[in-house]
Symmetry: C2
Subunit: 325 residues, 2 copies
């Protein structure tokens, strides 16, 4: 333990509820053991899953009191006695484990080194903190699970969202032809990220447009980042044997249309997993300028309640990053 | 057209309902054109999907009047002018297309040659007619969709059923360790087919046994041939990232447990597709004695209503074949 500081500030929830449950606390500084690292958090970010956990939707998996937050960009300050991949001073970025560990709304964060990756050298901590959860989610959905292939057609919902903005870039790098939905004020952004067909979902019917653009065939892959009625409607745009990856837990509450069966759909339920490998792969793409972060705004960790509100109000363009000062 | 016969007998439904809707009719002999073949049906069989269609459950896909039946073993008697893969006299077996074509409860059957395969040389027509739909279904579920790999654990529900009996054999050939459920009087059969752990589902809780046998880990692949509560309960036996293949359309009516999401399940909805390739592959395995048909009983086509009743009463061991004389 190389740091003399004995406590750290963190934003903690001790009950589930609205944004008021997010409260500053002074907590004991964690001590790394075995292959753990203690990381000084320079920046973290907010993700929709944070709001869902805060409201209690993951009460089966996550117990309170809890520190939320699932993105870290920072610097290693101390290492457990068996840690060997990183040393104090290393700049790192990673997705803290969502279940069983504390999150990153804090000045310091304890992590197993096996899920930690080197920060992209061409990004600031603020930029790098926008990547781990959203990037790993897009990677899990499109690369690991749906296995997007060259020449395929992919529908990505909410292409200007935190996950969507990275998903468009990954799908394009796979050689796919990308349809995406967004609001009118984000059309330029998603086009610039590489989307081939952009659908203003408030003005136009995405099912009609996709049927027209694919000569009635539909798409090979659907990435559902919205759930509910949008998920159900998306099935109309599916080609036979379409792979649908959904990151929205609520879809399990919906009764599913029989077209899933007659169309031989594969439905991949995606709950993002922490992994160094994925972040190594994404860092490579970022350093080669093949993928870039999309940041809506930068706030301070102490204002995380406001960041949650902003995210829940919708219309966020990429990610809201929280600097830890 | 080399046959002089002008009409053929077929079992037809002109309305949806109980087994009484299956009626013998004298119909015009179909004439093959282009790449079509006219096949004299020596044997066909009954499958659960026949009963479901008869009851109107597929009213969105299948219009009446209809000839049901989705297995043929027979002999080519005439060929369309562009057919080149088969000639009159060839012994063939195949899965008629379920949607858009007539089925095989008939003396003759018209088929596109692209989905027809050579009959296994070591099987009688009666034996060969037990294979196409059940074998293609097991192939689609385990090989094409769930992609069973060597060393994996697989749960196959209803291992003594028409599909299950072939699925056990295919999963074993993939190098998997197979758990199956069946009734007490079928335990010897499924063991002989290769099942490693046999669960008498009326006596024992398959979830408990699988958890015990896998040290709490669960299985890599689940083949759901039952649906409903059994499907939902099976999710408790799933390892993280388990692939579930279901051939039961009714599961889309069930609301799904959130474990599908937290366990990163891939759910493959399987509606079997006709293909020569699959039946070529299965023929190879049959001729090498690596797969064998399992036949419950042999009846006559004119008694198809009784065969439907027998199938719906449950407890069938493998397939009920119908000879066409």
């Amino acid at each position: 333990m190389k740091t003399a500081v004995k406590t750290m500030k963190a934003m903690v929830i001790t009950s589930f509820g609205d944004t008021k449950v997010l409260k500053a606390e002074e907590l004991p500084m964690p001590k790394p053991k075995d292959r753990e690292l203690l990381v000084k958090v320079y920046a973290t970010s907010v993700n929709p899953v944070d709001c869902k956990i805060r409201k209690g939707m993951f009460g089966d998996l996550i117990k309170i009191p809890a520190i939320l937050g699932f993105d870290v960009s920072g610097v290693v300050v101390a290492t457990g006695e068996k840690a060997s991949d990183f040393k104090a001073g290393d700049e790192v970025y990673y997705l803290p484990r969502i279940v069983g560990w504390q999150g990153s709304y804090a000045e310091y964060h304890l992590v197993e080194e096996s899920i930690v990756s080197k920060k992209p050298s061409n990004l600031s901590h603020t930029e790098a903190a926008s990547i781990p959860l959203a990037g790993s989610t897009a990677w899990d959905a499109l690369i690991e699970r749906a296995k997007v292939q060259i020449g395929e057609t992919v529908l990505i919902h909410a292409g200007a969202g935190g996950v969507g903005a990275l998903a468009i870039q990954l799908a394009k790098l796979c050689g796919a032809y990308v349809f995406t939905t967004c609001s009118d004020y984000n059309i330029d952004l998603v086009k610039e990220l590489g989307a081939d067909v952009v659908i203003d979902y408030k003005e136009d019917d995405f099912v009609e447009i996709i049927k027209e653009e694919t000569n009635g065939k539909g798409v090979d892959v659907i990435f559902d980042t919205v759930g509910g009625a949008t998920f159900i409607k998306s099935i109309e745009t599916a080609k036979p044997f379409c792979r649908i990856a959904s990151i929205v837990r609520d879809i399990t509450e919906t009764s599913m249309p029989p077209e899933l069966y007659s169309k031989n759909i594969s439905l991949h339920f995606v709950f993002v997993q922490s992994s160094r490998y994925k972040l190594d792969m994404i860092r490579n793409l970022i350093e080669k300028k093949q993928v870039r972060p999309v940041i809506d705004s930068v706030m301070l960790l102490k204002d995380v309640a406001q960041a949650h509100k902003k995210l829940e109000n919708g219309g966020v363009r990429g990610k809201i990053v929280l600097e830890v000062v």
